[in-house]
């Protein structure tokens, strides 16, 4: 009975530690790979770190305000062998403003100048794994930089 009690205490601690470690690795990845992709020589990181561990088949929505007359760069990256990550930038009515798969060429970043003030959603999608494969889990990070005129 004592062993069972110990098990009750140890297992959740173990899994909690595992989750914390996964998040930590995710944030490290976002900072190293994300900053490089953002091109911080041109774009100033907006100061926010949007990252989560996701599995193939998951989606993530990042809500963010964009202000008129500013240039932005949105970068979406994934780690741990997740080769395909798609994203759309949509407004609150889910109208598509940018699609990373449009024109048959997949891209992982978008540079644009916001012509007006708008709250937009960066909607990230990890396609499902093939039915014969186990879904992979890895860190997905969305980073935004701005540039002043």
């Amino acid at each position: 009975m004592k062993q069972i009690k110990i098990l009750f205490i140890i297992l959740p601690i173990f899994f909690f530690g595992l989750i914390q470690d996964t998040n930590g690795q995710c944030l490290d990845f976002a900072k190293t790979e994300g900053f490089a992709a953002l091109d911080t020589a041109i774009y100033i990181p907006d100061g926010r770190l949007n990252s989560l561990p996701l599995s193939q088949g998951d989606n993530l929505d990042v809500y963010k305000p964009f202000f008129r007359g500013r240039k932005y760069k949105v970068v979406v990256i994934a780690a741990n062998g997740i080769s395909e990550v798609n994203f759309k930038v949509v407004n609150f009515q889910r109208k598509v403003i940018f699609d990373s798969q449009a024109g048959g060429k997949k891209v992982s970043e978008w540079e644009f100048e916001s012509e007006r003030n708008q709250n937009l959603i960066i909607s990230v999608e990890l396609p499902e794994a093939k039915s014969s494969e186990q879904p992979k889990t890895g860190c997905v990070a969305v980073l935004v930089g701005f540039s002043q005129k």
């Binding site: 297992l11 989750i19 907006d46 809500y63 403003i97």
Partner: protein, 279 residues
């Protein structure tokens, strides 16, 4: 048999914990106008499997640059929250709100390349962060770097932005996102306070700045959505009435043709809320 049931129970409990840790919020939203940037009108279906929604409220460095990046903006150091006040803040709520406030002051000073004041506010934000248990976020070498040589506006902003990202990362790693929400609210209120003071509560003194101040209703909209999703936290819930006062003051103003009386009322609401946070 007993053991297999026990393991099944533990598996379920830990799976639930993992799910909760990965997710942040799952609420829906609405109410924004169409964008002029539309290149495609395809409708996106609702996300069926969303483990999390992240509200990426702007960091103080971002807000400061949005408000101040125009020819009429200038630096007025006396508006800032004095570093001497830092000893007054002892609760998690007051520490987090004022960490946001000092970060906005720091961003404002950095934007105008105020080397000495930036160093001073970098030091006070480090102190407050440490009081909140956020250790080793601000590298003393970075403070020394600002102090030792003249950095450009962009270099200052990058340095402040990176430091803020470290705080964001630390709080996420340690499951203390509620502190980040309070830091962002404090930073946003302070940036609005500085901007309204610079406008001298007048519609005509600096019309471009007034326009930028009023455009911040966009950020407030997201802030209220985030707070609505974090209602379980007492400290965050307590911020809602204050932010609702700002929303009402915004709603009273016709953004196309603002009236002086209503703009003055708006500036006073911002001032009162900021005073409540800093005193």
């Amino acid at each position: 048999m007993k053991y297999s049931k026990l393991f099944a129970l533990l598996f379920l409990a830990t799976s639930l914990m993992m799910f909760v840790a990965c997710g942040e919020s799952t609420s829906d939203s609405g109410g924004e106008q169409d964008s002029t940037l539309n290149t495609d009108t395809t409708s996106v279906s609702e996300n069926k499997n969303v483990p999390g929604i992240l509200y990426s409220l702007p960091a103080p460095v971002d807000i400061a640059s949005v408000l101040m990046d125009h020819p009429g903006a200038k630096f007025e150091g006396e508006m800032l929250n004095s570093p001497k006040n830092s000893t007054k803040y002892n609760t998690n709520k007051s520490l987090a709100l004022n960490l946001g406030i000092y970060t906005a002051d720091l961003s404002y000073a950095g934007f105008f390349e105020q080397q000495q004041i930036t160093t001073e506010y970098m030091t006070v934000t480090k102190e407050l962060a440490e009081k909140l248990g956020i250790a080793n976020i601000i590298d003393p070498a970075k403070i020394e770097m600002i102090n030792a040589k003249k950095l450009s506006k962009e270099a200052m902003q990058k340095l402040i932005s990176e430091t803020f990202m470290n705080t964001d990362a630390y709080l996420k790693e340690n499951g203390r996102q509620e502190l980040m929400t309070m830091i962002l609210v404090g930073g946003w209120v302070e940036a609005q306070y500085l901007a309204t003071r610079l406008s001298k509560s007048s519609l005509t003194e600096n019309p471009d700045l007034v326009k930028r101040i009023l455009e911040q209703s966009l950020t407030l909209e997201l802030m209220l959505m985030l707070i609505n999703d974090s209602k379980d936290n007492e400290n965050i819930n307590a911020l809602q009435p204050e932010l609702m006062k700002i929303k009402l003051a915004y709603d009273n103003i016709n953004q196309a043709e603002p009236e002086q009386e209503k703009y003055t009322a708006f500036c006073n609401v911002i001032k009162d809320i900021r005073t409540g946070m800093t005193e």
